[in-house]
């Protein structure tokens, strides 16, 4: 899973990086009078250079933030992204002050240093005060951002210098991405991918169990700070596209979505990168199609939609899937309880009869006749019983008989096990067995049988139906098979 997945994302990244190189033709202002469909078609021909930059930038950003975010989420540091994206602001301002221009390199270096300083401050506060993670993060976020705002307002009062566009760092504008920004994003993404692939094992261990990693003699702090450095790179290079607030969204939302869908870190990394990339692509698509709409928020909304889908419909942890599983499980338990009741009715009659009427069932389960009829109907739909011509009484099909025997066997075996092995009183074991009878697997049953020396009577002296009994296609034969019984059958 790990290698092909990463190779796939590498391939996609390569593809996206190459797009801007093959650039030519149309200007974005030719679009002004086209229709929605025209614009959508235009989007997929990738003819506009500014669109190509925006799209490539957004998708690269998604991959890179997705990878870094996955580590943040498993380290329970989700809000570190938020704190650091605010904390880089003074670095941006200082980078600008370096030579009073928007020199991308100076801003990049300044912002990265500020981000690292912020991460270091969080660690320092955690180590030297009793404040919890959230307070330390909040302090760094607020105080660094405060310093940043002071610096920005001071810069605005300065004479000279090209100050326009500095506020883009607050809200971002993917449409304004130049090809140098895209190349920067590409380099950062490649760096992040490379680091994650090469040091996958180290990052995984230090993320999940720092104590264990330390006991192995790993430089945990080194890996922590290298991750912080990569994170700062990712944040700083993404700021121009999506801005301070939304970069933390691109870090956390795709990763949290992946976290909902899988338990394995490699799979989570790949999924997170893919979700980030898809959200980036969708964001630039919508903002292109719906003229003048900002890209960043659409990326986040796309990511949020994917998250909501995973939250509700995720196959394992989704709310809807869990509800559905629970429903079908309780339906199965109710069916199995009806089958068990039918078995009990037959047993009371010494298996002399074959048909059970709704009235007998209702008396047995202390229900109304309507309820019993309803349950028999459910069993009939699952082909566990066939109904007589007047529709009032039911007889078990071979399959139904087998299931009923299994449930009764599970119940009685468990009762026997609790009295023999756990030394519970025989009148204390029924409740427990009522629950466990529905979940005992074949393997466990075999072990229980062995453990109990293939006994064939439960603590209340009733027969435990065995494999032999189940093979007969109906209750009629049980009368004869009782002679062989369970213990004999198993002894063969």
């Amino acid at each position: 899973m790990k290698l092909p997945g990463l190779a796939l994302s590498l391939a996609v990244v390569g593809f996206v990086v190459l797009i801007p190189e093959a650039a030519e033709a149309a200007r974005i202002n030719e679009l002004s009078d086209s229709t929605l469909i025209d614009r959508a078609a235009r989007f997929f021909t990738f003819r506009d250079p500014s669109l190509r930059n925006a799209l490539a930038g957004s998708m690269l950003l998604g991959v890179c933030c997705g990878l870094m975010g996955a580590f943040l989420v498993v380290r329970k540091l989700s809000l570190l992204g938020d704190a650091l994206s605010h904390a880089v602001l003074p670095g941006v301002a200082l980078g600008f002050l370096w030579n009073m221009s928007k020199d991308p390199l100076a801003i990049f270096v300044g912002a990265t240093l500020a981000g690292l300083l912020g991460a270091g401050t969080v660690q320092l506060l955690r180590a030297t005060t009793r404040h919890k993670e959230d307070a330390a993060l909040g302090f760094v976020l607020a105080s660094f951002f405060g310093v940043g705002i002071c610096l920005f307002t001071m810069i605005q009062n300065l004479p000279g210098g090209n100050k326009s566009g500095l506020d883009k760092f607050m809200f971002g504008q993917a449409a304004a991405l130049g090809s140098s920004d895209v190349i920067l994003l590409g380099v950062v993404t490649a760096l992040a991918l490379g680091a994650v692939v090469v040091f996958y094992k180290e990052y995984a261990i230090t993320s999940f169990d720092a104590g264990f990693a330390r006991s192995l003699g790993m430089p945990v702090q080194l890996f922590h700070y290298s991750l912080m450095l990569l994170l700062a790179f990712a944040i700083v290079s993404s700021l121009q596209a999506v801005g301070v607030v939304l970069v933390s969204a691109m870090l956390v939302i795709p990763a949290a979505t992946a976290f909902l869908l899988t338990d394995r870190l490699p799979r989570m990394l790949v999924l997170s990168a893919i979700f980030g990339m898809v959200s980036g692509g969708a964001g630039s698509f919508f903002s292109f199609v719906g003229r003048n709409l900002p890209t960043g928020p659409f990326m986040v909304l796309a990511a949020g939609t994917v998250f909501a889908a995973a939250l509700f419909f995720g196959p394992r942890h989704g709310i809807f899937s869990r509800w559905w599983r629970q429903r079908s499980r309780s339906a199965r338990i109710s069916r199995e309880n009806t089958l068990k009741a039918i078995y009990h009715v037959l047993e009371d009659q010494e298996f002399a009869i074959e048909q059970v009427s709704a009235r007998e069932l209702a008396e047995r389960r202390r229900e109304t006749i309507e309820e019993a009829q309803h349950q028999l109907g459910t069993l009939r739909r699952h082909q566990y019983v066939t109904m007589s011509n007047d529709g009032d009484s039911a007889s078990l099909t071979p399959e139904g008989w087998r299931r009923a025997c299994e449930i009764v066997r599970n119940h009685r075996l468990w009762e026997l096990y609790l009295t023999n092995a756990a030394h519970l009183a025989p009148d204390h074991v029924h409740e427990d067995a009522e629950k466990i009878e529905h979940v005992l697997g074949e393997e466990t049953v075999r072990m229980l049988e062995k453990r109990l020396n293939y006994a064939n009577r439960d603590p209340h002296g009733r027969l435990i139906p065995g494999l032999e009994d189940m093979r007969f296609a109906g209750a009629r034969h049980l009368g004869q098979s009782r002679a062989t019984g369970f213990g004999n059958a198993a002894a063969h």
Binding site: T128, S143, F145, M154, P297
Partner: protein, 324 residues
């Protein structure tokens, strides 16, 4: 670089604001104090509940509330804005709890997901309205605000006398309400914040206090952001309680230290902003953070001194006790 930091002129920075521009200075400091104190008081309980960053979340997610309120009522009346923002704030809290309860996503990730998505929704709605030409909110303004504009508001006139700028008076009301509520329900807030398990076993409804606190939080942020920006509110929810926690273990003392810190950082912040010619709200945050750092450095120094003297003592004891 030299232009960036003006030289420190005692008269210009410290004397002039209180002599020549007294009403302006007074109202800025008072407003800063009201916001900082109200936020700090609520923040103490957030810090205890490890929910310091919920304030940050709410302050961002009120944006869609503003826009939707405008779309429904077609007005920028203060009360409409207020109601929309408050509703959005409460919605954020509910979404965070829903994600946290219904899935295995950790609460910090849930906070991040909820507020960023709502914020993005707000920005999209806003830009749609803007391109339809009907509406303009300065998004920068929502985030930074400008406390320096507070004294310029047309003052509230009551009974022929000018009372002061409306937003400052509103904030004073909020501060009074928060302080009163804390005084009235001090015991309940204390128990539910420190030991929810004990509170539950005493038969207290912890949910009510939780949502009450969240309501107060939303109220404070919403009434603060309009005039001073979200950043001051967010910072003051976190920094003053941290400052107070360094100085005292007792909640009542912490609340008192919070108010003291609020007053001090509003005052220092104002002078800082006059000196550096920068945003007053930002300068107040910087002042507050610097105060915390000073207290933190002092406590570290004290700890180090104690550690050193202990080492010397044990070393001395070894030398004395060593017969050789």
């Amino acid at each position: 670089m030299n232009n960036l930091i003006p030289s420190f002129d005692w008269h210009r920075v410290v004397v002039q604001p209180w002599v020549d521009d007294l009403p302006i200075t007074l109202w800025i400091v008072l407003m800063g104090f009201f916001v900082t104190a109200a936020c700090g008081l609520v923040g103490n309980f957030l810090l205890l509940r490890r929910m310091a960053l919920v304030g940050d979340a709410i302050s961002h997610s009120i944006l869609p509330g503003l826009v939707v309120a405008f779309m429904i009522f077609k007005s920028t009346n203060t009360w409409v804005v207020f109601a929309g923002a408050l509703a959005a704030g409460m919605l954020t809290v509910l979404i965070i709890e829903f994600i946290h309860r219904q899935s295995r996503v950790k609460p910090d990730a849930a906070i991040c997901i909820a507020f960023t998505t709502l914020f993005a929704l707000g920005v999209v709605l806003m830009s749609m309205l803007e391109s339809a030409g009907s509406f303009h909110i300065d998004a920068d303004c929502v985030l930074y605000g400008e406390i320096a504009f507070v004294p310029l508001e047309p003052p509230v006139v009551w009974d022929g006398r000018e009372l002061g700028p409306p937003s400052a008076l509103r904030m004073a009301l909020v501060l009074t309400a928060v302080a009163l509520a804390i005084a009235l329900f001090y015991k309940e807030l204390l128990v539910t914040s420190f030991d929810p398990g004990l509170a539950k076993s005493l038969g207290m409804r912890t949910g009510i206090w939780h949502y009450g606190l969240m309501g107060a939080l939303a109220l404070v942020i919403v009434s603060a952001f309009e005039s001073v920006g979200a950043i001051l509110a967010v910072a003051m929810l976190i920094v003053p309680p941290m400052f107070a926690a360094q100085l005292s273990e007792r909640l009542s003392f912490r609340l008192a230290w919070t108010v003291f810190h609020a007053a001090l950082s509003a005052l220092i912040g104002l002078h800082l902003s006059v000196w550096l010619n920068c945003s007053a709200a930002g300068a107040m945050v910087v002042a507050a953070a610097a105060l915390f750092l000073a207290v933190w450095a002092a406590s570290q120094a004290r700890r180090w001194m104690r550690f050193r003297s202990k080492i010397f003592q044990s070393a001395g004891a070894q030398i004395v006790g060593d017969p050789a």
